[in-house]
Symmetry: C2
Subunit: 359 residues, 2 copies
């Protein structure tokens, strides 16, 4: 197969297969329920109230988001229980926005330092915001060491914040063969952090973690909540990490072949449609759904170079290929809308409401 039947739209665009999306949503919810974990999916992946509503319909307890502006947009869309899983710094202007949000929804924030906890407490009305202490479980990004969680929690409680638990992001699961070891480290760290809170008399009711690649190994004897994001669509990274198969990929970028040279074709989607993500272990700049043996060997802003294996016919000029982005969160953040497809026909389009909502 060298292409797919054309849709009546100019490429490139992001295409969501509704049935696959629904299957992924159901599986994510079923897996969490089977493990006894609350599901609080990370909506930064899709940035779409339509998809978030479907997640709640499947039993999610609320949403995770990354920024105050994302939370504002989802609150505007009617969502009332949001965790900003980020160590938000309450600059003067942002503090006012957080106060406004806390007045209209149940708001939970991440905090990973005594200074931030004290400042948050100083600018927010007492007990209006819940916080989780962020800990580092091995990804080495933000978060305090697990045994330091207690002192941050004490500072937060003294500052008038409602400390309800701890959270981490086991992002080191994004590496070959690290999915299970990252989940083990996550459980160990969350367990230590929970003890650290108990030691200072604060109940770690919420113990939140999880990621799409590590979610099958998330330890529900330690954690209470999981926050996967990518599972709604999946992407080439998940396929290459072994976290899903190509037949679980619900989002692709529809592209057109615009140039050919030997075994290489150029399609009209580049880093401005797919994102430039390329982990050191990735096979290329994404994958081709129709041609899993092909490799995307180079990426410019509007060109992806696809090397077709000798065993396959080289797609014709004007033919269409569906590219599976490496990292779907960044591909989505480039698009204004999703084209929703069912049984190969366009049935709807959904705006990417929180695209670019970084503040």
């Amino acid at each position: 197969m060298t292409g797919v039947h054309s849709l009546p739209l100019d490429t490139p665009f992001l295409e969501v297969d509704l049935d696959l999306l629904e299957r992924n949503l159901a599986r994510g919810a079923d897996d969490a329920a089977a493990n006894g974990l609350d599901l609080r999916p990370h909506a930064k992946t899709h940035k779409s109230p339509e998809i978030a509503r479907r997640q709640l319909a499947h039993g999610a307890v609320g949403l995770s988001l990354a920024t105050v502006s994302e939370a504002e947009l989802f609150a505007d869309a009617g969502f009332s229980d949001i965790f900003i899983a980020y160590p938000v710094w309450p600059s003067e202007r942002r503090a006012g926005r957080i106060r406004s949000l806390a007045e209209r929804i149940r708001l939970r924030l991440g905090v990973d330092s005594i200074e931030t906890a004290e400042r948050l407490g100083a600018v927010l009305a007492r007990d209006t915001v819940e916080v989780l202490v962020e800990i580092d479980s091995g990804h080495h990004r933000s978060g305090v060491g697990p045994t330091d969680a207690g002192e941050v929690a004490v500072a937060a409680a003294r500052a008038g914040l409602r400390v309800v638990g701890v959270f981490t992001f086991p992002g080191h699961a994004y590496s070959p063969d690290a999915r299970e070891s990252a989940a083990l480290e996550e459980a160990l760290a969350i367990g230590q952090a929970a003890e650290s809170l108990e030691a200072v008399g604060i109940e770690p009711t919420v113990r939140s973690g999880g990621s799409t690649p590590s979610r099958a190994a998330t330890d529900s004897s330690v954690l209470t909540e999981t926050r996967p994001g990518v599972y709604v669509f999946n992407d080439a990274q998940q396929v290459e990490l072994g976290s899903c198969g190509f037949d679980d990929v619900a989002l692709t970028a529809r592209t057109t072949v615009v140039s050919r040279r030997g075994n290489d074709v150029i399609v009209d989607a580049g880093s401005k449609a797919l994102g430039a993500d390329r982990a050191a272990w990735a096979s290329g700049y994404g994958r081709v759904l129709e041609l899993p043996e092909a490799r995307i060997t180079a990426l410019s802003e509007h060109h992806a170079t696809v090397r077709i294996p000798d065993s396959k016919p080289v797609p014709e000029l004007g033919g269409e290929l569906r590219i599976v982005p490496n990292h779907v969160c960044n591909a989505v953040n480039l698009a204004n809308e999703y084209v929703v497809v069912q049984n190969g026909e366009v049935i709807d389009s959904w705006p990417v409401v929180a695209r670019g909502a970084n503040t």
Copy 2:
């Protein structure tokens, strides 16, 4: 110095220093004029009619763009001479859009195959669109071999297109120590392609090339036109390639320190604000304007990890740092607007009108 004075806006945002922008615009125009080259800057970098107007005011002959949708938006904004420097495939719907554009502006397209030339000719009214044959000068992306330019030109002319010359993008200049060699190869290839057109009786009036890193070495005895894009802002790639200095960088992402750990700080801009571009030769995921010795060692969607050298104080939580993106074109394509600054004060904001215009 561990930070800069704060602006009354929540981070992250893209900040343009107007005086540096104007200096870059003037230099780009002066360099082209001194070399006797027409300047047709690539507006895909900035996607802003405001900046494009300033480029024309500095003497640019017209604009280069990458997509039909970019050209539509710039035509809507009053620009009347546009080259889509891309091998556009005229699918049925896109062909109608090209016809409409050609009715209202002077439109030039790239073509790099006989098939595309014939199809373009079949869907466009005779002589309504100019074309340049794209050739590969060593970047090995789109474009035919220089000596094959004539046969594509003949096919285009027979199909009713007005062939006015040849073009290339010497993208292989984006590599350490390759700026001059890429320009030499560009001149050689453009010269061969021009001869190939002359041999079939077609005058190669326009011989277009150029890029920001190679522009100082563009051979004006062979080329007639240069199409730099990044020069308006510059970026970390240009600094690291030696094409400019930090004091030539007119655009930065203003960020806030949200987390600290030893010599590392986390700022609140990641791949969703900066883009994920990272060439193999890059020092990291961008640079810090205030701390050129620092390195950005990791990037997530909303986190950049900045390693501060031992010799420098670690910035405080809440402090602001200005990040120079690796590849400014992709950073701009993530933002809805520019915050325009002069002498450290916000004086305006300009919309990124063609953000996401990929079709």
